[in-house]
Subunit: 340 residues, 2 copies
DNA sequence: ACTGGCACTCGTTACAGTCGAGTGCCAGGA
DNA sequence: TCCTGGCACTCGACTGTAACGAGTGCCAGT
């Protein structure tokens, strides 16, 4: 039952070879390319055990072995060390993130960087509003019955929304509204705002009451309900590497999944503990992504986490490398955010 | 030399059959499925002429004919009428666009709608800043040496940018800065702003001079230089329909091109005249997109054009249908924008 | 000017045979 | 007890051949 060290070494060798060659690996090739110190026959016996335990499988009789999702899982958990970044990669990260002028810029650069470094599809979640605080709320009159509400979060995110007022509101009243909402909400965490917004309505002077009521609805929608989360994506062209052998021949389900923000958020957004998360094959909950793996982690200024980022690729991916890259990029982005 | 009516009818029949079946079409099948009133042999003679003129070609000897880019061009220009939308499609458009709360929302809904209707990749350009006017500029103090500049355009677009001031600026001065820039720039077309920004610096009171100088740089970058244009994309999964037969087997170049904003802007952004534009195969300037066609048009409130939208797909696409959809969606979006 | 007929091309499919990578198992040896 | 060399076996990949048929070009006849 227990797998001894050599069997684990064999599994590691199989994973490494298969990831790099993309071809089922046989016992003979294994002993040639790794110093296992035993003969092919011995390796074959070990392979038989590994297969019985579900860590590897044979695509056909008389073919080499291929790791199963379970095999990759064991590899990631116990058989691989995080690969240190090369100096070139380190430099690329620094160079790429220097000169970003605002949050949008940071996110776009990050996602492209990650796609380029890992040669996978990269996903970056904008700093979550739920984990941000309100820095400032601005009300810009568009017409007498329309306002543009602009919300600036401490993470640098800016959301705007048109407000249709129930009736005309003079400029002075807009000034008052602006003062009131900022006094009440500025500095507060988004998640704490609903009762405060409620209070705003109740405490508002009579003549501001209708406008404030409408405004409060939009405020709640903007601060907590509505598309709350945003996502940036890059590197979809990388899905076509490995000439359709990955993803069992069709990119369709993958591309479909990537268009659903909800899916992406579930994949990279829920990184509660700050540790890196690896989802292998059908460990994720989406049928469309059964043939894919995801490496993700949280990022944020200092120790707090404000969002997630990660990469998606075939289960046959370079886990140690990708884990290292994802972590490194997350750390750099965190530092960048901390400067604001 | 001149193509008589029957030869044109044959070409039209070939295009229609090939688009719907995706298989090279032969002379016998043609006369069976269309009322041409002549025998296969006659059609063959016509086909020979059409091939000589470069409108169709044979993938191999002993295969049917396939339209060339030139053939599609003739078809689009002279042989097809714009297909009227079905009531269901009309309803889908209306339903989809109702309830959009702001510009972001409108753009996202539009691009998804277009992708769904045409079953192609859809692209929507945000209203171009170059064609917009400044509605309001807001300066929000982040710290004593940092401002958040928020620019609101009359099209509803909102751009923000962090400003690093050369030294601390008191709150009163920020108020003055805000007043000055709005007095000078509000209501102006973006393209007219550079000299005005220059004037702002020259006319600024001495103690505001350094801050205004920095601000002016950022203003110019935000208003005219920097990512100026934004793009929304949807329906990439539609590229996988037609099982890799389109796009000569590899989606890679297409996906790569779709990640370049510059490319997309060139494809759908330059619609100067308000007429619908069709780019077939290598008529576009990008090697990566030689196997693709683009149908695009401009949109905007009323007669003015503020941006472009369109779809991209295999050269073997339903041109009349797609042209109709793109036009219809553009018109609806224009109406929606006119309401703001 | 159109049509029917005919010879020809050539990609597709089916089938048979060979090759070889890789396996499982077993008997013998450290 | 564990490892190893040997051996028979499996089965996918590849090759070559043959039959098939969709489609063509051409030509003589109406």
């Amino acid at each position: 039952m227990g797998l001894d060290d050599r069997k684990l070494a064999v599994l590691r060798a199989i994973v490494e070879d298969y990831v790099s060659t993309q071809e089922p690996v046989g016992s003979k090739a294994l002993v040639e390319r790794h110093q296992l110190g035993v003969s092919p026959a011995t390796v074959r016996n070990d392979m038989a055990v590994l297969e019985e335990e579900g860590y590897i499988r044979q695509p056909h009789t008389s073919a080499g072995r291929v790791p199963t999702d379970r095999g990759y899982r064991l590899f990631v958990d116990r058989l691989s060390r995080v690969k240190p970044l090369s100096p070139a990669e380190r430099r690329a990260i620094e160079r790429f993130l220097v000169g970003a002028v605002d949050l949008d810029d940071v996110v776009h650069r990050t996602v492209r960087l990650l796609a380029q470094l890992t040669r996978q599809v990269a996903v970056v979640q904008y700093p979550s509003l739920a984990r941000s605080s309100v820095r400032h709320l601005e009300l810009v009159p568009i017409s007498t019955t329309r306002l543009m509400l602009v919300m600036i979060a401490d993470t640098g995110r800016v959301e705007q929304r048109l407000v249709e007022l129930p009736g005309p509101v003079p400029a002075d009243d807009v000034t008052d509204l602006r003062r009131l909402v900022n006094e009440k909400l500025a500095g507060e965490r988004m998640s704490d705002t609903p009762p405060l917004v409620q209070a705003l309505v109740e405490e508002a002077p009579v003549q501001l009451r209708p406008a404030m009521t409408t405004l409060s609805t939009v405020l709640l929608e903007t601060l907590v309900e509505r598309h709350e989360e945003r996502i940036a994506l890059a590197g979809t062209a990388n899905l076509t590497r490995g000439g359709l052998l990955d993803f069992q021949g069709s990119l369709r389900p993958i591309l479909e999944a990537l268009e659903e923000e909800v899916v992406l958020l579930k994949l990279i957004g829920e990184t509660e503990p700050s540790t890196t998360r690896v989802l292998i094959g059908d460990e994720n909950e989406f049928d469309n992504l059964r043939a894919a793996s995801v490496v993700s982690t949280g990022y944020g200024p200092g120790a707090t986490i404000v969002g997630g980022l990660g990469v998606l690729g075939p289960t046959r991916m370079d886990y140690p490398g990708n884990i290292a890259m994802v972590r490194a990029v997350a750390r750099y982005v965190g530092e960048l955010l901390a400067q604001n």
